[in-house]
Every structure is written in structure tokens, then in C-alpha cells.
């Protein structure tokens, strides 16, 4: 019958209209953003941040200023100046650290390549997307202090990946400590023979005995 389609359509839209009042949960798809928020998926990624261990963002910073990420970043938005001095990393080995570490938010394309290439688990993707600012120069250039976030934050936003990273790093630390202990024992054992033959070959090449003797973390 001509015209029945129109009536059917009107009934359908009326159902939507009335349903939006009686059953808003099923009939209104909108999430009213600033007040209501959707739970972000674990793999959500927005902009990199630097992970630090412990409570001090300077001392605990994992980044060793190897500058791999700086070279790999496709739009070249990372800027690093390596430090002159060294500081011990998580296993105690002296490492450089970034004196300056900047990322330009306006250039970063959130590709996550810096995260993929970092051998030190030092840079990860954050989920904070409310980064709009009225200052388009300084407000969009993120310095080290703003980039550094604690490991607990990493654990909160990417629990799976962070858990895995922490296990790996704990294993590395253990290995390093075991190696250090072994080296210390060896050093103690060889301390006697070293004393008698004054110019034995071992005395010239002593095994590394410092606590930093462990394998590098990766």
C-alpha cells in the first residue's frame, strides 16, 4: 500500500524519540564528555612520557641519554642533550643521563616508535589527551620535568606491559647482583694467590669487581 512506508518510518523514529526519554541507556549513545568519561582502553596512546623509578624524578630517571629515540623519531620532535657527569642506573652502573630532554607536542604524531626503540624501558606512551593550551610555544614544548612520570603511573595506565617490564627488570637486577656477588667471591678467592706471585698474569687483568659489573639491563 502506498504510504505505508512513511507510516512505518514515522513509527520507527517515534520509537527512538520516546525511547530516548524512557530508556536513555539504550537509546542515547552520547557520552557527555567533560562530566562523563569513557574508560580508556589499555592500549590508548597519546604522547610519550619518561619513566622514573622511586620517588625522585632526577635520580630515578631510566633514560640514559643514548639518543636512539631522538634519531628514530620520524618527525624529529625529540631533543636531547647528554649530561657530562654520570649517575648510577637501577643496577648501580654509572650511566649518562639527559641534561635536557624535550619533546614538542605540536610535532609529535603519537607513533610510539620512540617507545619501541628504547632499549632501557625509559620512554612510554601516556594516555593524557587533555593537552590543549593557550600558549602555543612554551605550552606545547614538554621539558624533562613535565615528561617524567613515576613507574606507578605507568603501572596504572598500562598494567600488562608495566608488569612485564617490571618482572624483566627485577630479573636483570637479580642477575646483576648475582654476577656482582660471584665477582666479589672470585676477587676474594684470588686475593691470596695475587699476594704471593707479585707479577702473575691475573694481577695485571683483574676481573671486574665493582657492583656495576653486571650485564646491561637488556
Amino acid at each position: 500500500m502506498t504510504g505505508s512506508g512513511i507510516l512505518q518510518g514515522l513509527a520507527e523514529t517515534a520509537k527512538n524519540f520516546v525511547g530516548s526519554f524512557t530508556h536513555p541507556a539504550e537509546n542515547l549513545a552520547t557520552i557527555e564528555y567533560p562530566e562523563q568519561r569513557q574508560k580508556l582502553a589499555e592500549n590508548t596512546r597519546q604522547f610519550p612520557f619518561l619513566v622514573f623509578d622511586g620517588t625522585d624524578p632526577e635520580a630515578g630517571l631510566r633514560c640514559v641519554a643514548c639518543q636512539i629515540c631522538e634519531k628514530e623519531c620520524p618527525p624529529q620532535c625529540i631533543y636531547i642533550i647528554k649530561s657530562k657527569a654520570k649517575k648510577p642506573d637501577f643496577v648501580g652502573k654509572p650511566q649518562f643521563f639527559p641534561a635536557v630532554f624535550d619533546i614538542d607536542l605540536s610535532v609529535c604524531m603519537s607513533c610510539q616508535i620512540c617507545v619501541e626503540v628504547c632499549p632501557f624501558d625509559a620512554i612510554k606512551m601516556d594516555q593524557d589527551f587533555e593537552l590543549a593550551t593557550s600558549d602555543r610555544f612554551q605550552g606545547l614544548l614538554f621539558h624533562k620535568d613535565r615528561l617524567a612520570k613515576p613507574n606507578s603511573h605507568f603501572q596504572k595506565i598500562h598494567p600488562t606491559e608495566a608488569g612485564e617490564t617490571d618482572t624483566r627488570r627485577a630479573a636483570d637486577l637479580e642477575k646483576a647482583q648475582a654476577a656482582a656477588a660471584k665477582a666479589a667471591a672470585a676477587a676474594a678467592a684470588s686475593a691470596k694467590p695475587v699476594a704471593t706471585p707479585a707479577n702473575s698474569p691475573e694481577a695485571k687483568n683483574p676481573p671486574p669487581a665493582s657492583p656495576a659489573a653486571g650485564t646491561p639491563p637488556m
Partner: protein, 392 residues
């Protein structure tokens, strides 16, 4: 009841009484003009918000709800926005026509409101001989404005839109006027006030004799609604602006406040033609039953107007836009013959007044139903029901 019902009139008399006798007719006219120019544009502001809210809910989203309480100040934000925008006139535009077109589109609907009886004794301009004629004459001048707008822009899309608009407005003016004509036939007058009075006759159980309560009234009202949607450029007949095809049609080259004026004109046209439909078929300011008389008559008018506007918004949320050939075929091969048959049935109804009610109803309704089926057959064949491969 009567004080509230006559409140606008008494208020006006009080104000007019302050002035010297020589000025009184002028003041009275000015007051009426001022009231019409305030109420209907205010209604326009409200409608734009409500329309977006209703359309939103039809499309499973809440619609504008940020500006002001529940989003109802959105129109103010939009108005300020369009006022502060740059008014661009294309270099090869016809400047005079380009300037005049928005005014020619806005003023006729405002004039048309003057003959609409909004309440008991509440009509700005009672033209006992020519009320309806005045309405249609004024309404037809919108077409001039539309073509001026399309022509003066010097843009092919606006010209296309203007040509579509002209073709559509002229085609649908016929069913509109002819369906109104049935009411004129039965009333025997062109005065809109007389038409409402005619419908105030009381039938069984205090039911007023609205023209809608007759077979020809139902069909006439449906035809009128269809033609009114086309006259007011409302979806599904919004081809003249058709954003997805020809940008904004005849007002493509307008920006800023002139653009807003076109919208105002369009909505005022919709209100005017809805008001006419109410007057012709829905008993004007009359309540359906005599025992509902305690509600002020102007409230009835605006209530019915609101219901019709809601219906048009609902229709807009439901139907897709027609194609130009479908539009034309619908007007000339379906709507127009049906209107003529309806006029015939209305005549029949008039001359069978002393027949048995049931038989009279059955005869008229049967004739109209047969006409509907017969007329829609070739139409349905030309546009068969589509089957979709991937959707039900």
C-alpha cells in the same frame, strides 16, 4: 475564562485608550504589528532549539544542551554568531537584488500573520472579502524573493536552487490552494474569521464541527500538510537548499545575518502556512469540545501550531529528500488529481447534508479511498519498493 481569553484585546484597548482619539487607529495598528513581529520570531528562536533537540533524540543523541538551561539559549549564541560574521557580497553579484532578497523572503510571512485569527476576536486585520486571497497573494511573493536570492548571487548552485525552488513552489501552490478552496466552497466566504466561525457549530457530545471531522477534511488536511511542507521548503521537499547536492541552494552566496534572515523567513513561512492549516481544517482557535472552552482561545491556536511544528520536525527526522522528478511526478500525477477529486467529494458532502450520517460518510470516504488507490497505483509502479541486498 473570558478575562484571560480576551486579555490581549483588553490590554491593547487600555494602551490605546491613553492616546488621543485621532491617533488611536494608528496606535492600535502599530501594537498589532509589534505583537506579531515579536511573537513569531520568538517562536522561531524557540523552534530552532527544539528542532535540534527533537532531531537529536530521533537520531539517538541528546542534541544541544550546553548554552543556558538545558541548551535553550542556543538561539542567542547562534544569533550573536551570525551577527558578528562578515557579510560577504560576491564581486559579480547584483548588489541591489542581493540586498533586497532576504527582506523579500522575511516580510511576506509577517504580512500573512496579520489575517490569521489567533484567538477569539484576536486578528490583526480582518479582511471579510479577501482574507484567504491576501494570504496566498502575499505568500506567493516569497517566490520572487527566492528567485532574487538565487539569481543575484551569480553562482550556478544558487541559480539551480532558485530554479528548483520556483518549480517546486509553483507545482505545490496548486494543491495547496485547491485544498484550501474546498473549505472556501463549504464556508462560502474568503474570510478566515468566518471559516473559524463556521467550524464552531456544535455536533454531538459538544464536538465542534472542525473541518477535520469530515472525510474531505481529513484528505484535504493531509494534502494541505504535504503541500505546506513543500511550500515551506521542509524536508522531504527541501530540494531548493539540498545541502548535500547544491550546498545551500538559493542562499549559497549569503553569509552572516542575511543567512540567518533566510532561516527566519523559512520558519516564519512554515508558521504561517501551519497557521492557515489550523484555521482551515483544525478549527482555528476552537477547542475540539465545547467543555474545553475554559482554556484561552489563543492557547489553543498556539498549542495546535506547536503540534504541527512538532509533526514537521518529526517528518524531517524520518524521511529522506526526494529527487526532482519524483517531486514533480508526485505533485502533478498524484496530489493534484486527488485534490480535485477531494473538491468534488466536498461538494457532494455539501449537497447530501440531509442524508443518513453513516451513509454519507461511507459514500464520501469510499470515493476518496478508491481515488487514493487508483491514483497511487501508477505511482507505486514507477517507484517500486526497493530491495536491499545487505539491509532488511
Amino acid at each position: 475564562m473570558n478575562t484571560l481569553d480576551q486579555l490581549p484585546e483588553t490590554l491593547k484597548d487600555h494602551v490605546v485608550g491613553v492616546f488621543p482619539a485621532g491617533l488611536q487607529p494608528w496606535i492600535s495598528a502599530l501594537l498589532a504589528i509589534g505583537a506579531l513581529c515579536a511573537i513569531f520570531p520568538a517562536l522561531f528562536a524557540l523552534t530552532t532549539v527544539l528542532e535540534r533537540k527533537i532531531l537529536g533524540r530521533i537520531q539517538n543523541r541528546p542534541g544541544p544542551n550546553r548554552v543556558g538551561p538545558a541548551g535553550f539559549l542556543q538561539f542567542a549564541a547562534d544569533g550573536i554568531k551570525s551577527l558578528t560574521k562578515e557579510d560577504i557580497v560576491p564581486r559579480n553579484a547584483d548588489r541591489l537584488l542581493h540586498f533586497l532578497a532576504p527582506l523579500v523572503v522575511v516580510i511576506p510571512p509577517l504580512l500573512a500573520f496579520s489575517v490569521l485569527p489567533i484567538g477569539r476576536n484576536l486578528v490583526a486585520l480582518d479582511l471579510p472579502e479577501t482574507g484567504l486571497l491576501f494570504f496566498f497573494a502575499v505568500g506567493a511573493s516569497v517566490e520572487v524573493g527566492v528567485f532574487m536570492a538565487g539569481w543575484s548571487g551569480g553562482n550556478k548552485y544558487s541559480l539551480l536552487g532558485a530554479m528548483r525552488a520556483l518549480a517546486q513552489l509553483i507545482s505545490y501552490e496548486l494543491p495547496l490552494i485547491l485544498s484550501a478552496l474546498t473549505v472556501v466552497m463549504l464556508t462560502g466566504s474568503l474570510s478566515l474569521v468566518a471559516m473559524v466561525e463556521k467550524q464552531s457549530a456544535v455536533q454531538v457530545a459538544g464536538l465542534h464541527a472542525w473541518n477535520l471531522f469530515t472525510p474531505w477534511g481529513v484528505v484535504g488536511f493531509l494534502i494541505f500538510l504535504t503541500a505546506a511542507a513543500a511550500e515551506a521548503n521542509r524536508s522531504p521537499f527541501d530540494l531548493p537548499e539540498a545541502e548535500s547536492e547544491i550546498i545551500a541552494g538559493y542562499f549559497t552566496e549569503y553569509s552572516g545575518f542575511k543567512f540567518a534572515l533566510f532561516f527566519l523567513g523559512e520558519y516564519l513561512g512554515l508558521f504561517a502556512v501551519c497557521g492557515l492549516g489550523i484555521t482551515l481544517f483544525l478549527g482555528g482557535w476552537l477547542p475540539p469540545f465545547t467543555w474545553l472552552n475554559w482554556i484561552p482561545s489563543w492557547l489553543w491556536f498556539f498549542g495546535k501550531l506547536g503540534a504541527l511544528i512538532f509533526f514537521f520536525i518529526w517528518l524531517r527526522g524520518t524521511l529522506p529528500r526526494l529527487r526532482m522528478d519524483q517531486l514533480m511526478q508526485f505533485a502533478w500525477t498524484f496530489l493534484l488529481p486527488l485534490t480535485l477529486i477531494n473538491a468534488f467529494v466536498a461538494g457532494l458532502w455539501h449537497f447530501t447534508a440531509d442524508w443518513n450520517v453513516l451513509f454519507r460518510w461511507a459514500l464520501s470516504a469510499g470515493l476518496l479511498a478508491a481515488a487514493y488507490v487508483a491514483l497511487s497505483r501508477p505511482f507505486a509502479r514507477a517507484f517500486p519498493r526497493r530491495t536491499y541486498r545487505f539491509a532488511p
